[in-house]
């Protein structure tokens, strides 16, 4: 390569690097601003671009944490965990079992059921929301977490089934056959041989389901009525609706707290997110 060409390549790389850095700052500035504003006095929030507060206040957190009326954010955080942990747990178990069935067995109407599952990935869900709501109403499940947890037990999110199927297909069938020779039944093959190999896929599924359920807003909005049972998403929106100007930094402080768990998960396990959407080829 000639010297000139080498120089040109270097310059292009430098330009790319500068561009990417500027874009990175541009993209993350809103989040950093949200964090810094939560430590600012209300009068300062909309006056400066600076990320460093002139005077650091902490009472936005302590006051905001008290929440609205008789319920504080300890309740709302607790509710979110009570909602998200069972959803995640049951989704992963049911999707693994169903994915195993699709990936390793032949049975009547398999093609049909598989197509139904794939169609579920693309079918717009808005058309079934109303009858689902009416169904849960008839079951007496409204204003409880059952409309979230019970469907998770029955692998209703095709995304996770598909993800597990793709992963199982990548594991050589010879391992199963070795298991059969050793006298394992099909359940033992799953639990003793395949599951240890599936850890990355299971971990990806857990992370995605956790974060999606954590920030879900629409479903709690229609199924949960009493403030006592509100998850964070509903509590924040209520605070925003009731809030006067004086409480801006409190709303921001609680918004920051509400994204701390997903952000920590994302940064500690980002490898699994990227792998999760690249291997299954699906959205994030």
């Amino acid at each position: 390569m000639s010297m000139k060409k080498k120089n040109k390549k270097l310059i292009v790389r430098i330009i790319a690097f500068v561009f990417l850095s500027l874009l990175g700052i541009f993209m993350t500035y809103p989040l950093l601003w949200l964090i810094s504003s939560s430590f600012k006095e209300n009068s300062e929030i909309f006056k400066s671009l600076s990320l460093i507060p002139q005077k650091i206040v902490m009472n936005s957190y302590s006051e905001g944490w008290k929440g609205i009326g008789q319920f504080g954010y300890s309740t709302f955080f607790g509710n979110t965990f009570k909602l998200v942990i069972p959803i995640t747990f049951f989704t992963v178990i049911s999707s693994t079992i169903v994915g195993y069935g699709f990936a390793r067995f032949t049975f009547p109407f398999k093609k049909f059921f598989f197509s139904v599952m794939l169609a579920g990935l693309m079918l717009p869900s808005s058309v079934i929301i109303i009858p689902r709501y009416l169904l849960f109403n008839r079951f007496g499940w409204l204003d409880s977490y059952l409309p979230f947890i019970v469907p998770a037990m029955f692998a209703t999110n095709a995304f996770f089934i598909f993800m597990m199927v793709q992963f199982f297909r990548g594991i050589p069938k010879e391992l199963d056959e070795a298991g059969i020779i050793d006298g394992c039944n099909s359940l033992q093959i799953l639990t003793r041989i395949l599951l240890p190999l599936c850890k990355p896929a299971i971990f990806s599924a857990m992370l995605f389901q956790f974060i999606w359920a954590w920030s879900d807003f629409f479903s709690p909005l229609i199924y949960i009525n009493s403030v006592k049972k509100y998850p964070l998403s509903l509590a924040l929106r209520m605070m925003l609706d009731l809030g006067e100007q004086a409480q801006w930094n409190q709303i921001m402080a609680m918004s920051v707290l509400s994204i701390v768990p997903p952000v920590i998960l994302f940064f500690t396990a980002q490898k699994y997110f990227v792998e999760g959407i690249s291997t299954s080829g699906l959205k994030g």
């Binding site: 993209m27 717009p124 037990m153 918004s255």
Partner: protein, 300 residues
């Protein structure tokens, strides 16, 4: 022979057993609601009184009397046509820059992907609302360059773009898919065309873009489907306003079903949305036979 037959039957049964949670879930939580939604759409069900069949009148009223309906259709199409292409073009562009094999690619990928992870949360919508308020950060920033403040959320001509920008900000997940696709394009294609004297621009149109078409199609379909059903951003940031300029179809459905409890009417509206989405998806998939390139000639 008989033994083998029996064994096979046994194995059939085992497979069905493993997928049985899915079958039960599908029947109760998907197929049943799907079918009853059709039936509800021909009734005047309101939760308070017993449903009566009203024939096609929900559909007829929607098309002839409901001004909100036509407004929401218009707003939603505008939103989809703006947000989806902008997001995908941006995602592809950034993926290509990242693919230049810079050392810091993993760092940037993480940073750009973060908004997608936080995407639909209320916290982010709250942040957006504060950012674009009249005396918010964005107008303060513009003020540095002596640009007069813009009414991002108050001007009905602009508000929808402000909501759409939130979707573009979340380009990260599409970008990761594009990046994975770019990595799979064989290096020797570029080498061969470079020997033939092809410029970088020509390489992009002759190699990169055709090889990425399956991923572009996939992204386009998934993003279009979800953009048509967008709800949280418009609900929390502008609540459909000002003057219903951000009153997306999803918001109208929510209001009719869960605020006014017009379940029959809302079901009919949900079927129109369903019909729109399925038609557009079908058009995208059908037209892709002409522009999407598959090495094995396979189907989507």
């Amino acid at each position: 022979m008989k033994q083998k037959y029996k064994k096979r039957r046994m194995k059939d049964y085992v497979g069905l057993l493993y997928i049985s949670p899915f079958i039960i879930g599908f029947l109760i939580f998907q197929l049943y609601p799907f079918i009853s939604s059709i039936i509800y759409s021909f009734t005047d069900f309101t939760m308070i009184k017993k449903p009566d069949f009203v024939g096609f009148s929900n559909y007829i009223n929607m098309f002839t009397k409901d001004r909100d309906f036509w407004n929401s259709v218009k707003v939603t199409f505008k939103y989809v046509l703006m947000a989806v292409p902008m997001k995908l073009i941006f995602a592809l562009f950034i993926a290509m820059v990242l693919n230049m094999k810079l050392k810091s690619i993993n760092f940037f990928r993480t940073i750009y992907y973060l908004p997608s992870i936080l995407g639909g949360s209320v916290a982010v919508a709250v942040m957006w609302r504060f950012l674009f308020m009249y005396d918010g950060l964005v107008n303060n920033f513009l003020g540095v360059f002596n640009i007069p403040p813009i009414s991002w959320l108050g001007n009905p001509d602009i508000s929808l773009y402000t909501i759409g920008l939130l979707a573009v900000w979340q380009f990260g997940s599409s970008m990761v898919l594009f990046l994975a696709g770019l990595k799979q394009i064989p290096e020797n294609l570029y080498e061969a065309s470079a020997i033939d004297g092809a410029s970088k621009v020509k390489q992009f149109f002759v190699i990169t873009l055709p090889m990425l078409t399956p991923i572009i199609l996939f992204n386009m379909v998934m993003q279009t489907i979800s953009a048509f059903q967008e709800f949280t951003g418009a609900f929390v940031i502008t609540n459909g306003g000002p003057m219903k300029s951000t009153y997306l179809y999803g918001m109208m459905l929510y209001d009719n079903a869960f605020v006014h409890f017009k379940m029959g009417y809302a079901s009919a509206q949900s079927w129109i949305l369903f019909f729109i989405i399925v038609t557009i998806t079908a058009i995208l998939l059908k037209s892709s036979k002409r522009w999407a390139y598959y090495e094995d000639g396979g189907d989507f």
